[in-house]
Subunit: 218 residues, 4 copies
DNA sequence: CATGAATGAGTATTCATTCAT
DNA sequence: CATGAATGAATACTCATTCAT
């Protein structure tokens, strides 16, 4: 559809290891490119959350990112490619935040608490990103690869759940149902707070975690 | 400049007694006018679910409804008026389906089961309508009246929850949080099934109901 | 382009000979038709003056005339045919009002005063009609016949002017120029009053008449 | 939502010193942008005269100007903004052409001749522009600023007329009436020529000037 | 590489006209 | 004859995308 295509494979990687921003010549030149890509992703994420995918014009994204409209098309093939890049990037951050160093050998109670509180940490620290992931969940412009990223996380958790069920520490039944129930409840908690303009407090998260644990424990 | 104004003979008719759509002769003749309105509402609901509000073009709705594009504007002032009419109509059907003849004097366990299973019945029988209500929850094009319809249902349920908490039959805590958790779990259950192309079976609903009851009971 | 086509040749004839509106049976039936035609012409004239040709919707005309939208097409082939019928009708009324019983044998001073004051009488008594004729002068939707009606009046006056020039009672020169100057001045006088929401008083008309006479007399 | 706003480098540039449009090299390069704006204004002026404001479709203007339809909206916020820009621009050119270096100390005969012949010069050299100003005089889509431009010119001339009346060099009476009469006659002269496809010759203008002077002198 | 002016296909909406009743 | 619901072509305007600079 369009020319250059994504010049950097790095999928958005937020937390730039601060503290070594001061580096000379060549590194600086290399950064310029990435900074633009980063700026575009950030601007687009914010605008997609504020106004939705269809409500956001590409030139607006360019303005907010401080680049020319044409520049966006040097980094992304299309507006859809852009939204998919954001989706994949954030979903992978979310996935990493929840599953990295997963306490595979802990008991189920501990594992559940870990997952829940990590999700809570991510959602609280990245409200726009989390809203974005929710809003765009199953949107018609998400492509197969984006759905695959989603699926990968699901597969991992499914394995965890199945193992826990095998240990009789979770209710028996379709793992999909159980996971849907848990993720749905999690989103419901956030929504109930955002609807009144707040973010759930730590106590809220802990309370909800206890509730849902009681829902799923055997 | 404005069209001859909405004939609006029936504003979407909540809670059609499903199962006896077959009625004879004369009633059919009287229907002709309303049938177009109904066809537009149905077509729009389906397309809004498939592609979203902004992703659906008005002529597409007209095509699917089997009417001319201009005809839509004889029944609805604008695309936004149309989506609001659908939202209000379905929300009221949903609300009626859940809250009519509510067993106010039953115990909390019974009340919860009633609400949950009624929601399940509506969602299963009206999958597109339920998805529509979820997708368009808090969309920017919903007007004040549509939000009011939503709020009315919320208020009623809040009262039920608060009363149950007062009786110590539900966990203490912000009713909003509890309700968000329950509704979120409910949606999560549906999503987990739709994602694999199915609708939750009665057994699934009953299982999930038991889970969530354990989450919220004191 | 369209079906029935104008069922009555009578081109708008306003001043219905009042005083014999009370007539029995058959005449009454015949009147009904004409009344609708009349009502349509009146409503259209008023709306075209208020909002212009393009700014007026056919159903609006029907509403104001108290008939169905389709009815207009029983009397006029199209919106353009309607505006042309009005134009021709009013132009002929104007022409008749100015030229009927023209004092062919009077001196030029008297003839000029006659023409001017008759034009003034028509314009004052039929402000909307006069504005209509001015607004639609040379509009792109006027057809050849409408222009011919205009031309006929011009030809008659040209003859009068030429005769007066032959008698050396008017300045020599192209009669067209002289007539354009006079008619233009007449319209300018009306405009200058309408711009401030008034109609020229008799004294204004007389004053202007004297001015223009001095402009054209030899 | 709104376009990046009008670059508006020159708001139609009144009174281009005709006769030296030929300037070299670099200036040409700088022109490129404005040339599109100019082309749009020219095309729109011509079409508005031919078919009227409502009778002219925006894509037609784009075609005639040799630009894309969307391009018009880079230079003008809307079709109405476009017609207002033309009106203001031409009215200011007209005003400047008539009133710049006005011989304030000359006698009334000389002042009148100056105004009349300057108007004639403008109208002859810019027939479409003059017709445009006439046709769109008091049109509903003209905004307050456009009307203000018109009013400014009127005020100046009113002062001149009042002063001349005070010197007893013009007939006494409402200045508005006198001015309407003169401007009307001027337009009438042009119309009488355009109706037969010509432009008034210098001799015609001089003849008419003498006529109207006799109409208004005391 | 970066830009942003230019584009034209696509959008929601209007309205002259038709035709079944 | 009269109607007005229905139509679809036409309108003004937007915006993702391109490409000359």
């Amino acid at each position: 559809m369009a020319p250059p295509s994504n010049p950097r494979s790095r999928p958005s990687q937020p937390a730039i290891p601060a503290g070594r921003a001061s580096q000379p010549a060549i590194a600086g030149a290399r950064r310029v490119v990435s900074d633009k890509r980063e700026a575009i992703l950030d601007a687009a994420l914010a605008l997609f959350v504020e106004r939705g995918f269809w409500g956001t014009a590409v030139p607006e994204i360019a303005d907010r990112a401080g680049v020319g409209a044409g520049t966006i098309y040097r980094y992304f093939d299309s507006k859809e490619a852009l939204v998919n890049a954001i989706y994949r990037g954030q979903k992978m951050r979310f996935s990493a935040g929840v599953l990295d160093d997963f306490p595979a050998s802990a008991n189920t109670r501990e594992q559940f608490r870990t997952i829940w509180m990590r999700m809570a940490r991510f959602a609280s620290a990245n409200v726009p990103a989390f809203i974005f992931l929710e809003l765009h969940h199953h949107a018609s412009y998400l492509d197969a690869e984006s759905r695959a990223v989603e699926q990968r996380m699901l597969d991992i958790i499914t394995a965890v759940v199945t193992a826990a069920q095998a240990r009789r520490e979770l209710k028996a039944g379709d793992p999909r149902l159980l996971m849907g129930l848990v993720l749905g409840a999690f989103i419901g908690v956030i929504r109930s707070c955002l609807d009144v303009g707040q973010t759930p407090a730590d106590a809220d998260w802990a309370f909800a975690e206890q509730c849902i644990w009681e829902a799923i424990r055997s």
